[in-house]
Symmetry: D2
Subunit: 304 residues, 4 copies
């Protein structure tokens, strides 16, 4: 099952669960996969920035990917982040996870890229590295990568690389970018690819209204993301915003850079989805005051 | 009336109103000042990043500052942003606005600063430039300045410069930073200064709970900021969060980098507070889709 | 006398001389102008990055520019750096110095620019600010500005703005960029503008061989720059490199970021060209060890 | 043979030789090792930034390291760069190369680090990852890493980590930093570690005079680096500078960012030290004009 341009719904960005002493936790991994599928995920994405991918050794990454793919067992597509400092590492990981049954890979640009041509060339080289038959996702996340891609650049990458099937959109601000990209494909100027949005879902209802096909992001209550996507698709705008706004205080708290992942893991632990909220170093620790904030936010969400 | 370490409440960050053809708009300036005071502002801050200060010529900045100070006429303190590429410009503007009746000045660090000592030295030089008797505010806004100040560095600046009376806190994440700074002054390790928080108010109720004295930020409904600060001070936690959460969807929309100011000016215009939502170049223009989003958000706030 | 696309030779980047107590030094200014003209300068450039322009107040900048222009008295063109945080400041300074007799202005892009279109738009807005009849120079200096312009972007700026007459080239590496730009104008794909090179002259003989028309840079022995440019133009390659290589140890020492200007001012002082090597804050101070290094380098140059 | 604080001389930074089709080239690797030892290297450093380390897959890195260590066969110490995006990768590589006989490892800080405490903590975590008994080298190279370490920070790292035995110094400007660090150890404020300097050798004679113990850098004629170090140690200042200055035109050409490694590999190929000057993507290609420049520079060096 390979990823295609018609992918939609909610691809949940999975954290990598660790035990208290920092080893990858296989039991929590399985439990998390089942919880996310039960929440309505139409896909899973692993080894992304919020999956602490750079903190894993090469063999750990591969073992984790294989386990997730095996547990999912074809129920939904699994996308694997293969961003790497060099193409040799990207190529090796990509080949192995595709061999293990991944649906596609996701590639974020390295932070040194500046000009339009540098970005376009980088994706051409990346496609050469992973092979032209591997479906891939562009990750457009300037807050973290420091690489700014105009719609024009994204369209060039789509045009020049038939294996590009999706944009993980998390530019900020980014709503007009969705509008521009969708207009370009509606006008026949460009091939239409799937657009799933990120940024912890912070703008999800608006993004859907601009033409996104769904979300590819993490949030400790992924059923909310699923609910919002479905409500918007059903034309229930007010209900979608009502549902979303009820969660927004926690979404906002979870989108704090660096700290956000610790928040998310804490909530997932409290919800019984993973066993420990351990992050590998370097990573923040939650202060007692922060824990109290999160407890307050969870209580307000769950009460309503 | 000079700014002191006991400043509290809501210091509204004022945009600079322009006419449709881009000149500073004196009529809107007066109207805006009165609206913000009526909303409960305990102070005003002008010529900050969100005041488009770098887009004004030197004489325009001074004229605008003088007008605001004259209109306020001593009802509340006025703080003037004097961040500049060099100390000669900072010194000149500071001297002139203090002469015109400003309560103090605000200084953001230039983006080239990296090490702890560079940051501390910079503020020492800045104090030399503005004079040791001018109360000043440290602006700690890494998302925009790219300068990261640890609590330790902030405490060193406070310790070495008696004229430092306030921290405009907008680190992100920043809640634990407030806790750390407040603990340091509670423990007698450091002089207590006022902490007013920024970031468009995105974390305001939590920031108050961590020990902030109020907010120094902009938002198109500043009465909400005032309400939240007062409710928290009155111990009404739930009511504070309820009020805040009702506005959070728009707060979130307004905190989009670059675009946010255009959103804010549009709402201020629709509320009759300024005549035009013009931004000077370089600045974004609102798309029709974005205008529709904002209208939707305003309607939901005002209906509730 | 307005700057044109046929400008050539050596436009010496002038430092701004200060007295020991940090005021602009008019006597040294005149003396420096005469020394640079005597050294063979075919133009002067003031208020650039190495002129400590951001450290001057608006009135100081203008007074300094007027004095230099008056002293030069039409003997050579004077270019004035008008890079500014905003277009209002750029417009005001540009109008005043052109009125005072400047030949053109120089504009470096602000460091926030990332994409090709952002850079091209910025120069369009800048031309709107200074007026379409004011000849201007693009400063392409990524090491300092953090803005990377491809040859394609530079050619678009040249094409869209007839008042663009010169590129101050200081990309690094940058030799192939000159080759590409010159090929584009030779092939009739683009209007030919003057290319003067910067970077403290570090690659001057090779830059001339690639098609530069000369240099626009500073070095404490500007007669060397003049000599190299003339020797290359006269076809005396070996002599040009021999002359250059004799100075290279000091050129290399002067191109150290930040420190370099202090080195240059020290040598200019020792050569009797300016009275003091004072830099305004923030700026480095030369250690005794560094002074000894420079003395050693000067001795080796002057002995040979 | 473990690396100690008394290491001195020239540790040549080795490129990773590739065949024309981009595979690691074992024959060239052996030949290069022998050539560098014959040139007088007192150590070798592999898998650094100029060794294209991030472009190698994990197994390639390890195989290359093992081969170099085996070829050297204990004649000199071999240092291996283990900088990695995460500690798991760093730990794995470090353990394996130390097991294979490396003398120590080198660690550059990741570019996200800003504050003094972040940098110090990072090295504490890194030591935890590699183990407290593995001698390590701090790489201080802000031009590439964007991390600025004050002397104070370096001294804290040395103080808190007994396994820190060397600083690879390539700050720029950096001469006064050597003076400050050496004064601190002379004054008994800090443990004395080895300081070897980098930056392609651009300031080598001055660095030696400030107290460096030698160089750890690459240059296509490493015998020049050895010669300069030995002449300075022998008190022959003039001869050292004469030798250095003869090579400076090429050193300068080789220190161009990104392009420099392609230049170095070309010269090594022409000198018969490696079979191909291939770089892995992303990497620059030499234009015919650049090749002609290098040929000219080589001719001038070899003639003299």
């Amino acid at each position: 099952m390979l990823l295609t341009s018609s992918a939609a719904g909610v691809y949940v960005i999975c954290p990598t669960p660790f035990t208290i002493d920092g080893r990858v936790d296989p039991a929590s991994t399985d439990q998390m996969v089942e919880a996310f599928l039960k929440a309505g995920a139409t896909g899973l994405t692993i080894l992304g920035i919020m999956g602490e991918a750079p903190k894993l050794a090469a063999d750990e990454s591969l073992a984790f990917a294989k386990q997730v793919i095996a547990t999912v067992a074809g129920r939904v597509p699994v996308i694997v982040g293969v961003s790497a400092a060099g193409f040799a590492g990207m190529s090796a990981l990509s080949r192995k996870v595709m061999g293990a049954g991944a649906a596609g890979v996701m590639i974020a640009p390295p932070s040194a890229l500046r000009t339009d041509d540098q970005i376009v060339s980088y994706y051409a080289d990346a496609v050469e590295a992973i092979g032209p038959d591997v479906p891939f996702v562009i990750q457009d996340y300037p807050l973290v990568t420091n690489v700014v891609m105009t719609p024009k650049v994204i369209l060039r990458i789509i045009e020049e690389n038939p294996s590009c099937v999706m944009l993980k959109h998390e530019d900020w601000p980014g709503l007009d970018k969705i509008t521009t990209l969708r207009r370009a494909s509606a006008d026949g100027q460009a091939r239409r690819v799937s657009i799933l949005t990120g940024n912890g879902g912070l703008f999800l209802p608006f993004e859907m209204e601009r033409g996104a096909d769904g979300a590819m992001t993490g949030y400790a209550y992924p059923e909310m993301l699923v609910g919002v996507v479905n409500l918007i698709k059903a034309g229930k705008r007010k209900e979608a915003h009502d549902l979303f706004d009820r969660h927004l205080p926690l979404v906002r708290y979870e989108t704090q850079p660096n700290l956000g992942l610790a928040v998310r893991k804490y909530v997932l632990k409290r919800r019984g989805i993973i066993a420990s909220d351990t992050l590998r170093k370097p990573g923040p620790k939650l202060s007692p005051e922060t824990v109290a904030d999160i407890d307050w936010l969870m209580e307000r969400i769950e009460r309503s």
